[in-house]
Symmetry: C2
Subunit: 306 residues, 2 copies
């Protein structure tokens, strides 16, 4: 696989709609994915943190991937999350995704045990790479210590890049720590690096990032995509300021419920606001405040209704 | 189900042996479980932290449970870990275990998301209780913030006990914080409380605990069981001191690898020392130091060989 086929640009960690019985609403899921691809997303990081993927069983994840492909979403636009706590799950889900032709796999470290060694994490990824044993496999390491408390160190990334070149290819960094992003970008030229928030898009692009995988792309991908495509323009700093301001307005609310609530409003489908436990939907008060905030900004999700 | 049939005493969170390909070694697993029951364990908390259960797939866990039952281990002695990140997994595994007749289910909270609300955790357990919908279900809440970073608050426990009486029945507290254990024991008389370390066995028994579910029971259940059975005797404090001293000697080493290494030595089966990633076995130096420590103490696992 040539570098040219690797994903870049704005990827949404796609939120997952649930029916009243909390089963995934496949039809609305497919619709949302297609809307995202038509409105600024280059790709879909399905089964991420914002997707409540760890609240879904393996079968549910496979079913949703199947549904997207059956509906004509190209596998080449997909970067599913396939990193699980159990090695056998990670191998099975990654293999399945690769066999469907996905562009990459965004992999959490096994996240139950804390204080694990770089050696143990290395072995996890080495086993996965070897067991999947497919040259199409492109692993993006998912660094999100606020949830996992299991970080990827520079030394671990260096070792994986050295031992699995062409397989371990990139990272999503959702740590929120610019110093870490800067260090990763400077240490590994050619690393397919995505900051996990558009707040860092411009500075990261200037150091060689290839885009961003960001929660807010679920509701407003176009503005982020505009900065991605024009990061070298004179207007880039102003664009960055604008999207950062929007993100901060949204993330005053609990993030995943806020994205789902927003989608519920603009699709006119209240059920979209539902989360699986342990997450809870916004309260009525929060929902009203968010709606007012969005309205005040003249926010829209064009074409999402119906 | 009467109180009389609830598990009490010393339960081991059974360590899981792996073959060279890292698949579970069923034969040695069954043998270890039988040894534990014959040597001081009242029950087996299979699929716990020390079992590397989160490093096993759902199918692997079901398979191991099936193997124990097929080998004649009574379901009434089992308290499998069935709490997963995904609601659908928790429901499926808990239902399966209850259908096999297990004495209880030791349930982690969903542990991927951090900073979740009591309301979200409540809904998780409420959904599980309702969906499993079986009066035989006995849930023991598994409080282990050092791994999950998702604690059970007193208010949450109170609400669950009130709304699901006879279903939510107890707790394993592996937080290592005596103040929390004391608060739980004092707040909820009749709560089936197990400290997650024998270090707290005597003080917890004095406040109404029903036993302990502890890692070191994997290698030395007899001494812990002796204190459990004689906690009101004049020798109880001396017994507590002795088992605490042993535990501290062992937990100077990485805990799960040390338990497996010890079992490897006394079964004369080096493969027992193997862990799944992200855990790693003891280094040669650590292994030698542990072996010397055990030998110096005249430690033995009587009847474990062969």
């Amino acid at each position: 696989m040539s570098q040219a086929t690797l994903l870049s640009g704005v990827l949404a960690p796609v939120i997952t709609p649930f029916k009243a019985d909390l089963s995934p609403d496949v039809e609305r899921y497919v619709k949302h994915c297609k809307w995202l691809l038509a409105n600024g997303c280059s790709g879909l990081a399905i089964f991420g943190t914002n997707s409540e993927a760890n609240s879904l069983s393996m079968d549910e994840r496979r079913m949703l991937l199947d549904a997207l492909l059956a509906a004509g979403v190209p596998a080449s636009r997909l970067m599913p999350g396939t990193g699980c706590c159990a090695l056998t799950d990670s191998v099975a889900l990654t293999r399945y995704a690769v066999e469907q032709g996905v562009a990459g796999a965004l992999m959490l470290p096994p996240f139950f045990y804390k204080g694990v060694s770089d050696e143990g994490l290395y072995r996890n990824f080495a086993e996965i790479a070897q067991r999947v044993g497919d040259s199409r496999l492109k692993i993006y390491l998912y660094h999100i210590p606020p949830m996992t408390a299991v970080p990827f160190s520079l030394a671990l990334v260096e070792r994986l890049l050295k031992d699995y070149p062409g397989t371990v290819v990139g990272m999503k960094d959702s740590g929120g720590d610019w110093k870490n992003m800067e260090a990763m970008l400077k240490a590994f030229p050619g690393f397919q690096f995505f900051p996990g928030s558009e707040e860092f898009l411009l500075p990261a692009m200037r150091l060689g990032a290839v885009g961003t995988i960001t929660a807010t792309a679920n509701i407003g991908p176009a503005a982020i995509d505009r900065l991605f495509r024009n990061w070298q323009s004179a207007e880039a700093d102003a664009m960055q300021e604008e999207i950062t301001d929007f993100r901060r307005a949204i993330t005053r609310f609990p993030q995943i419920p806020a994205l789902k609530h927003t989608t519920a409003i603009y699709t006119d489908h209240p059920q979209w606001a539902v989360t699986r436990p342990p997450l809870v939907s916004l309260s009525a008060e929060q929902g009203q405040a968010l709606a007012a905030e969005l309205k005040g900004r003249g926010f829209d999700m064009p074409g999402i209704r119906g």
